[in-house]
């Protein structure tokens, strides 16, 4: 299954802004997503916004980016313009089943 549009466009933008190799950026972003329990497939715009604000700056700093917060802030302005079409989020779908089991 293909990665979401949000993931692909975000990686390309970070690679361009930070001057890093695209493959390396994809790895850093994947690690950030994993830290937050997310995956490239099924990644939505609101989820990516959280990653940009709270997780990715530390990952970019470890890659030698001098001002990762600025990169992430600039990226967030672009991410919110993306038409959100995350596709299947298996974790959220499974959680929805357990949500239905909630006590009344």
């Amino acid at each position: 299954m293909a990665d979401s549009v949000v993931f692909t466009r975000s990686c390309e933008t970070v690679a361009r802004m930070a001057g890093l190799d695209l493959v390396a950026v994809r790895g850093v972003v994947r690690i950030a997503l994993r830290e937050a329990g997310l995956q490239p497939r099924g990644l939505s715009v609101p989820q990516m916004q959280v990653i940009l604000r709270r997780v990715l700056p530390a990952g970019l700093r470890s890659c030698g980016v001098t001002d990762p917060e600025a990169v992430c802030t600039a990226l967030e302005r672009e991410v919110v313009q993306i038409e959100d079409d995350p596709g299947e989020d298996a974790v959220a779908d499974a959680a929805a089943v357990f949500e239905r089991f909630a006590p009344r």
């Binding site: 994993r34 830290e35 937050a36 329990g37 997310l38 989820q47 959280v50 604000r53 709270r54 997780v55 299947e88 298996a90 974790v91 959220a92 779908d93 499974a94 959680a95 089943v97 357990f98 949500e99 239905r100 089991f101 909630a102 006590p103």
Partner: protein, 246 residues
């Protein structure tokens, strides 16, 4: 000790019946496979399977024919219920994947084969060996459930830290995994105790089985009927995550 063990077994039976009935009731208005299969599994296994199995274990050494008859009676609801679990696991955790169908098929075929060999066995010993193989095969569905539940809990726990998932739901998934492991443990220990003669070892395993049953009951109670004080633990972090702009 016997009273505590008996109480644990009775509570496990009642909890399974109540939770199963509740899930079937939910399925009646959601028309969704997960709650239907899991609910039926609990009703069949706990409601119709546990009582004759518990009685069979009590009379196994003194009235072998009666014990075997009780096991035959219990085998169909228990095995059918445990097999329903494997379908529920597939539909909850891997609904768009095809490989779980092979796992479900293998569990079903293995269980049916062992049960057929049990019912066609020439003597008590043959019946007992193949019957418990059938139950243990079907219990693989519970083991699969626990693995998937713990994997899902890890993802949800990470998401909840950033306000991307409901922490209470994550906890419910964890409790489900714990209950599944406890159910598998209880079943395996019951099988191990059948042939034991050493009273010390038998006593130890009985304590272990009782602890597993009480653990299962506690986990299911907290998952389905959590007290308000328990639920409040998740409300405060959720508000904090929302306030941090997640």
């Amino acid at each position: 000790m016997d009273a505590i063990a008996f109480a644990g077994a009775v509570l496990a039976w009642l909890m399974g019946l109540v939770v199963g009935a509740r899930l079937v009731r939910i399925a009646a208005y959601t028309y969704q496979t997960p709650e239907l299969t899991i609910g039926l599994s609990y009703v069949l296994t706990a409601g119709f399977g546990f009582p004759p199995m518990i009685l069979s274990a009590e009379v196994w050494r003194t009235q072998r024919d009666l014990a075997e008859l009780l096991q035959v009676f219990a085998s169909f609801p228990i095995c059918t219920g445990l097999l329903a679990i494997s379908i529920g696991v597939w539909r909850i955790f891997r609904p768009t994947r095809r490989w779980p169908l092979w796992v479900v098929t293998a569990i079903w075929c293995g269980t049916a084969l062992c049960l057929g060999l049990a019912l066609g066995a020439a003597d008590h010993e043959g019946f007992r060996i193949w019957f418990w193989r059938a139950v243990n095969f079907a219990t693989l569905g519970w083991l699969w459930m626990s693995v998937e539940a713990f994997l899902l809990f890890d993802r949800l726990r990470r998401r909840a830290r950033y306000g991307l998932a409901n922490a209470e739901v994550a906890n419910r998934v964890l409790l489900w995994g714990v209950a599944s492991v406890a159910a598998v443990t209880s079943s395996l220990l019951g099988w191990m105790m059948l042939d034991l003669r050493d009273p010390g070892l038998l006593f130890t395993l009985r304590i272990g089985q009782s602890a597993a049953q009480w653990g299962c009951v506690l986990a299911m109670w907290l998952a389905f009927f959590p007290p308000k004080a328990y639920r409040r633990r998740f409300a405060a972090p959720a508000q904090a995550a929302a306030a941090s702009g997640a």
